[in-house]
Homo-oligomer: 246 residues x 2
């Protein structure tokens, strides 16, 4: 997840780590060539704001490596994260030049990007591209709706447990199967970013993380490094057994 990619190594789409999940996933080799012709890579430093809300964007991007967030801010400083962007996630909205959210790199982030106009032309030309974009947008919508349940109806403790379960599933599903026991992964966010994700304060996040630790649901080894001895134990703390469709 956190290993760094040198853009040079990525010139060939066939070797791309997100080839099977990104917006280009459904494309045939011939169609890929069209995309290849207009793509370029760019890397952002951790902490850098990739796009400001209201900006007219010049490119659509796919995250190749790293973690970014989508968030909104109220005039008085209250913030709410509305999207967690992991490798293969798409940034931008074809058919609309503006973006209405801030996009921030939380780790070093490398994106594969396309100028808007040429990409929109390809969208019209390659059905596979539009098809994949539709599926990804629907997945994002489902995720947003699950998240609304978390924000609207769960307690602080349940929110933290839900967040950890979501991240565990997303991070670990990238690298294959998900074991039931002794999961280890990294929440790549600060306590403050987690608070923005969950509609809490950073103090409450800290308290609940330590409460889950004290109760043996999780093991905290280096603040961000999480170990989950028994995954179903964590899921039981989320308040719903239905799980998430991430």
């Amino acid at each position: 997840m956190t290993e760094l990619f040198s853009p040079k190594e990525l010139l060939r789409c066939a070797d791309c780590p997100i080839r099977k999940r990104a917006v280009c996933a459904y494309c045939e080799p011939a169609e890929l060539a069209d995309l290849d012709a207009i793509k370029s890579y760019k890397t952002f430093a951790a902490g850098e704001t990739m796009v400001w809300s209201g900006d007219v964007v010049s490119h659509f991007s796919s995250i190749v490596s790293g973690v970014a967030t989508l968030s909104q801010t109220l005039d008085d400083g209250r913030r709410q994260m509305v999207g967690l962007l992991l490798p293969s996630d798409f940034i931008g909205r074809p058919g609309r030049g503006q973006i209405t959210f801030d996009v921030e790199a939380k780790t070093e982030v490398t994106v594969c990007r396309f100028e808007c106009r040429p990409f929109e032309v390809l969208l019209g030309k390659i059905p596979h591209l539009r098809e994949r974009l539709l599926d990804m947008t629907m997945d994002d919508l489902d995720a947003a709706r699950e998240w609304m349940l978390v924000l609207g109806r769960k307690t602080a403790r349940e929110k933290i447990a839900s967040f950890l379960a979501i991240v565990a599933r997303r991070v670990l599903s990238v690298e294959g199967a998900m074991p039931e026991r002794d999961l280890e992964f990294d929440v790549m966010l600060t306590r403050e970013a987690m608070a923005d994700y969950l509609g809490l304060t950073l103090e409450t996040v800290s308290r609940q993380m330590n409460a889950l630790k004290k109760d043996g649901v999780i093991v905290l080894e280096k603040k961000r490094a999480i170990k989950v001895p028994v995954f179903s134990r964590l899921v039981a703390e989320t308040g719903d057994d239905t799980g998430f469709s991430f």
Copy 2:
């Protein structure tokens, strides 16, 4: 909005009240004929559950008239509404047979519906259809993300004001321009449904509605019938001036 449609009157798509906003909006007359061939109408009574979470659905639907909601329920009864469905909104997810939310008719609801398989075939055949579905899904995603800010970061009073502003914009935009003064519209939901929408209890909704009334921001004439003397006054109570993109 609440006038009743007789399905017989709707047989011709050209006369359809949602012709310009529904999933078929981008279709040419010839393409419309294909859809027309597989469509049928169905009406649900107010209060009826149109689809249960987990159901395998046989049809995709467009709301022609009435109001429906999309919601999730936790095992212990906590509920969160995750979508408010007004005329022209689409129900169902092509490419996936199941639905993971409850769909409930809040008023009498008439839908124009298509069997899944034939509709999916047309999706492959008519680019305009896929294009419109993508745009609608992206609009839904934007709406869900605005809503997440409301759920995660706003006070009860701000939530109510945001809700009223959203409904005013959606309801009134259907019938043309939106005046700044003396808006009148109907929140078609009970206090309980509003609470499910906003992540509040029905008591808190009631208290805050009456607080806004006492402060002259809104006029309550028949519990559900809202009058807004000065719209910007209401928007000022939402906590953000940016407004909503509904």
